[in-house]
């Protein structure tokens, strides 16, 4: 039979409890705001980062859509939108293709539905209206026309869809958008499109399909293809975000943030528990009273549900606001990929709000339910008269009877006072420990981030200059001569020529030895699955065919100076061989590395095979002995020849100039000792202005800034979390200290009535607090030392060397203890002042 609960009565009791115990209620609400704030901060961050990662991974498939269909007719595209599984299927029709500078672009009439899915909505200027107007992404504009300014001219050669002969046309750039990962679209006007009419059955449409549900997406994609009459599986691609390894990447990244939730829960619970512990006797007596009148355990639980529910309801809106603010602050400085992500914004799904509310509710409930639970296991009488004092123990009885009397010094009274409230203090202490340990770990991780090491690894020089117009050019231009001897002279005068390293560049084809050729062919055949569907770098199949037929491979040849080689051989990973500077400078030796551009899909064995040390490599009819190899290329992958895979050969500048006379350097790498970076920048700026050049420059400071940003990205959320946990723990300590005074008002009145002075009482309380703080300090320092030592080293065992140089610190423990000592001394002054407002007599007659 169902028991009648009378929820209205339980709610009334809960509301009255809140009103009658305002201090506890306000404190609980404040704590709940903080706890909700942290819960929602962590959850919002997980959602935002997860969405960011997903966005990034989706973009690798050249679209944010779930499935990309290409080569559709108009009829097929329209049919797609009608299918029931399809949520939306925006599309565009290609007018023609531009192939230039190693990249391929599609011209299309602006598609309002499709453009936002690939971030191709002009943010500067407007959409094209006339046939000689065009809009495109900034990087493409620069690469193809040397300028990305709206209003400038740009001449393009494109092959219309219905034609084979290229059409050359001058366009006016009327609109641009920021560079992003989808740089393959350019918008032209309908007027131009009409000039190249296409029959109705032309298969020139690309559609990005989003489904209502993405379960079993591979099967769904097949089904959709069948339903619209697409038979070639090459015509559709499921977004790589659905691949298992990508889903795991997102999960593992967000899990690293989510795993902070248990710490929040634990700290919050300890905090609330210590608040409710303060009035434990009164609460148990309250429930005992209820039991004597006839309240059942279920009704008691109902009172607690309502009590907690009301307190939490007051706190969650502010808590959510706090969480939102923290997430906004942290994510505003987030750099997920090292580039800005246009369109990336805070993600706040409804379930994060619900989860944070539930998390807070559960935390508060578990702490608040404890007195009711305790009371329900007692008889009504025991609960009614509960004082929390331990019962006499037979062994203790014997000890007391034979015990020698010691006069009660202030210290002894204080010690007994502390010992009497061990249980309550334990919870406040636990919260302090959790926050100290967490903050300690984060502090060590923070100061162990070696920014100098990181920057040196990224960029060993202070300044880099690349040639005219190179800013948006992904490749070196071997024919560029803008880095003149005159510029070199000016820079040498400022910093000395030993601090300037020139890099020369040439592209060629190398005929491989039979042995190396076979190794490379076998490598790509073994890993063909990973390379075949990689879209961004076209020409893999063609390059592979060339390799198999002609035994030739594209190569980048670098002529470098001593400083460059020294940096490279000291800082590169996985370098083999022994670098001998004398031999390298004067004899035909080469360092070789290799790369394939398909770095996104991980092959079973990552690296393209390289020539063995000591073997001979023939480069444009000059033979070089391989002095060593590097598994990873030293330069950024974006300054390579336009080839799906290649070798890079580093030879001395002297050998390069002999083999390729008349070339100019493509890059200058400058070290500026004695703080001459500004002078170097001034020389470069004034020279390029003088000559009308537009160099691409990198300042080392950029890497410091990037490094600091990365540190913040990695540790920012944890730092915020530890600050709030600190706050929670300190508030718990304040709550404990205040309660110890205010709840013992009657006890202190007894002391005063027996002759203790106000000063002595103050001294007693300060002594009690200091004793507790010292005990807490021993534990905090002890456990923090273990956390800051072995624990951090264990947690960071897989941290890359480039970043991490272990430093021990106990700074958070120092800060915490300093704050606690100050509070231990100051708070009694305040609370004694408050309690002494009432007369001794009145306080003696108070109920406990």
């Amino acid at each position: 039979m169902f028991e009648h609960i009378n929820t209205k009565l339980c709610r009334k009791l809960a509301i009255r409890e809140i009103r009658f115990h305002k201090v506890r209620s306000v404190l609980t609400i404040l704590m709940a705001v903080l706890v909700t704030g942290i819960f929602s901060f962590v959850l919002f961050l997980v959602s935002t980062e997860g969405a960011g990662y997903e966005y990034q991974i989706r973009g690798m498939s050249n679209t944010q859509a779930d499935i990309l269909f290409t080569g559709l007719t108009k009829q097929q595209a329209e049919r797609l939108s009608e299918l029931k599984d399809v949520k939306e299927a925006p599309w565009y029709q290609s007018v023609g293709t531009v192939s230039e500078g190693g990249a391929s672009y599609q011209l299309a009439s602006y598609s309002k539905g499709y453009a936002p899915t690939v971030e191709a909505v002009p943010t500067r200027g407007r959409l094209p209206e006339k046939s000689d107007e065009i809009a495109m992404e900034v990087q493409a504009a620069y690469a193809l026309g040397g300028s990305s300014r709206v209003g400038d001219s740009i001449t393009l050669s494109f092959v219309p869809e219905q034609g084979e002969e290229p059409v050359k046309q001058e366009f006016t750039l009327v609109g641009t958008w920021d560079s992003n990962m989808y740089s393959y679209l350019m918008w032209v006007s309908d007027e131009l499109a009409d000039q190249f009419p296409q029959p109705a059955n032309t298969a020139s449409i690309t559609a990005g399909v989003n489904l209502w549900r993405t379960w079993h997406i591979e099967e769904k994609a097949e089904k959709l293809a069948r339903e619209i009459g697409v038979t070639d599986p090459q015509q559709y691609t499921v977004n790589s975000v659905f691949q298992e390894e990508n889903a795991e990447r997102i999960t593992s990244h967000t899990a690293s943030i989510l795993k902070n939730c248990p710490i929040v829960f634990l700290c919050g619970f300890l905090m609330f528990f210590s608040i409710f512990q303060m009035m434990l006797e009164l609460d148990i007596q309250f429930y005992g009273r209820m039991k004597t009148i006839g309240m059942t355990p279920l009704q008691m639980r109902c009172v607690v549900y309502h009590w907690v529910g009301i307190l939490v309801l007051f706190s969650v809106p502010l808590g959510w606001l706090l969480g939102y603010g923290l997430t906004q602050w942290v994510s505003a400085t987030f750099v997920l990929t090292g580039n800005d992500l246009p369109g990336m914004s805070l993600v706040l799904p409804w379930y994060d709000f619900v989860l944070s509310l539930l998390g807070t509710w559960v935390t508060v409930f578990l702490a608040a339910f404890w007195p009711a639970l305790k009371a329900s296991h007692m008889t009504p009488l025991l609960a009614l008269h509960y004082t929390g004092h331990p019962t006499r123990h037979p062994k203790r009885d014997k000890e007391i009877s034979g015990h020698t009397y010691h006069p009660n010094s202030l210290f002894l009274i204080a010690w007994k006072g502390v010992a009497r409230q061990k249980g309550r203090m334990a919870f406040a202490l636990a919260a302090l420990l959790v926050s100290a340990v967490f903050a300690g770990v984060v502090a060590v991780q923070y100061i162990s981030r070696d920014l100098e090491k990181f920057v040196s690894n990224k960029f060993s020089f202070d300044y880099l200059v690349k040639g005219d117009g190179q800013k948006y050019n992904v490749f070196y231009d071997p024919d560029d001569h803008s880095l003149t001897p005159e510029l070199y002279e000016r820079l040498s005068k400022a910093v000395g020529n030993q601090n300037i390293s020139r890099v020369y560049y040439a592209e060629t084809k190398i005929k491989l030895t039979d042995f190396l050729w076979k190794e490379i062919v076998d490598y790509y055949e073994r890993n063909m699955e990973y390379y075949q569907d990689y879209l961004q770098y076209v020409g893999f199949e063609e390059a592979f065919r060339e390799l198999k037929e002609d035994h030739t491979i594209s190569a980048a040849v670098y002529g470098v100076e001593e400083e460059y080689m020294w940096v490279m051989t000291n800082e590169m990973f996985d370098l083999s061989g022994h670098y001998d500077q004398e031999m390298f400078e004067h004899a035909p030796f080469a360092y070789v590395s290799g790369m394939n551009k398909n770095t996104m899909n991980q092959a079973d064995d990552y690296d393209q095979p390289l020539p063995k040390e000591g073997s001979v490599l023939s480069v444009d009819e000059a033979d070089y002995t391989v002095m060593g190899t590097a598994r990873r290329p030293y330069n950024s992958m974006f300054v390579k020849p336009d080839a799906a895979f290649y070798l890079e050969c580093y030879i001395s500048m002297a050998n390069f100039q002999k083999q390729y006379p008349g070339r100019s350097p493509v890059e200058l790498l400058i070290s500026a000792p004695n703080g001459q970076e500004k002078e170097v920048a001034r020389i470069v700026d004034s020279y390029q202005e003088e000559k009308g050049y537009n160099y691409f420059t990198i300042d080392r400071q950029l890497y410091y800034d990037g490094g600091r940003m990365s540190v913040w990205t990695m540790l920012g959320p944890k730092i915020i979390l530890s600050a709030i946990l600190f706050l929670i723990a300190i508030l718990g300590f304040i709550n404990l200290i205040l309660h110890r005074t205010l709840a013992r008002s009657k006890e202190f009145a007894v002391y005063r009535s027996l002759g203790m002075s106000r000063g002595e009482l103050l001294k007693l309380l300060i002594l009690e607090n200091v004793l507790f703080t010292v005990m807490a300090g021993v534990l905090v320092y002890g456990i923090s030392a273990i956390a800051a030592g072995p624990l951090v080293q264990y947690l960071n065992r897989s941290e890359p060397d480039v970043w991490f140089t272990y430093h021990f610190t106990l700074a958070p423990a120092h800060v915490l203890m300093a704050v606690l000592i100050i509070l231990a001394v100051m708070l009694p002054i305040f609370s004694v002042h408050v309690t002494e407002q009432e007369s001794i007599t009145r306080r003696l007659n108070m109920d406990a």
Binding site: R16, T292, T296
Partner: protein, 221 residues
């Protein structure tokens, strides 16, 4: 007809190594609609007996039967429900709910049980106990005598079969004590309830239909 019966009721308190036999094989019967006073020296087991009768504590052995229901061995929930339906308990220190006003305190057991409050009856009780002007106040705003009257009203409002009163006049002056005792007798006569009252005051005990004497945990009659 007996409304209360105890059989071989025993309660032993363990305090460290020692044992205190608060009740020793108590066999007691109480008739319906009677005013019973329980007297005895301090430590004789009076309060322990009342606590056993009210199901506020568990006996070491023996049984307690109230209005035909054996309450010893009952589960906590069942006992709570039984208590609010069948028993009204008046404590020496009132035990009012500090967060409820006087009227809410009075009807609290009825509300807990989910029954409709018999407004006419409650008003009669309030009138009898002279509490009409204080219904909106809270316990801390009342004097001891007034609080005790509220506790009595609460005990009566649920129309229990049995009222157990543990020194209801213990904290009151003699005039108030006389008043309260008189009121209780009036309520017993008016509402036909059974009252078991612990008292040290022999004058008040004279008002009872029966006096049960206790000594060393046993009934001395």
């Amino acid at each position: 007809m007996n409304v209360i019966e105890t059989q071989h009721l025993t309660k032993i308190f363990k305090d460290g190594a020692s044992e205190i036999h608060a009740l020793n094989d108590v066999n007691l019967t109480i008739e319906k609609s009677t005013f019973n006073a329980v007297v005895g020296t301090s430590g004789s087991g009076k309060t322990t007996l009342i606590n056993m009768l009210g199901g506020l504590d568990t006996p070491t052995s023996g049984t307690v039967t109230i209005d035909g229901t054996v309450i010893t061995g009952m589960k906590d929930r069942e006992l709570s429900i039984f208590r609010r339906k069948k028993l009204g308990i008046i404590f020496q220190n009132y035990n009012l709910v500090p967060t409820l006003n006087i009227y809410e305190n009075i009807v609290f057991p009825v509300d807990l049980d989910g029954r409709r409050v018999d407004k006419a009856f409650v008003e009669e009780v309030i009138h009898t106990l002279h509490l009409k002007e204080r219904l909106g106040d809270y316990p801390y705003q009342l004097s001891g005598g007034q609080q005790q009257r509220v506790a009595i009203a609460r005990a009566l409002a649920a129309k229990p079969s049995v009222i157990l009163a543990d020194e209801p006049t213990g904290s009151l002056d003699s005039k108030n004590s006389q008043n309260i005792a008189g009121l209780l007798k009036e309520c017993v006569d008016t509402f036909k309830q059974t009252l078991v009252m612990i008292t040290h005051n022999l004058e008040l005990a004279q008002l009872a239909d029966r006096v049960v004497r206790m000594e060393d945990g046993r009934i001395q009659e």
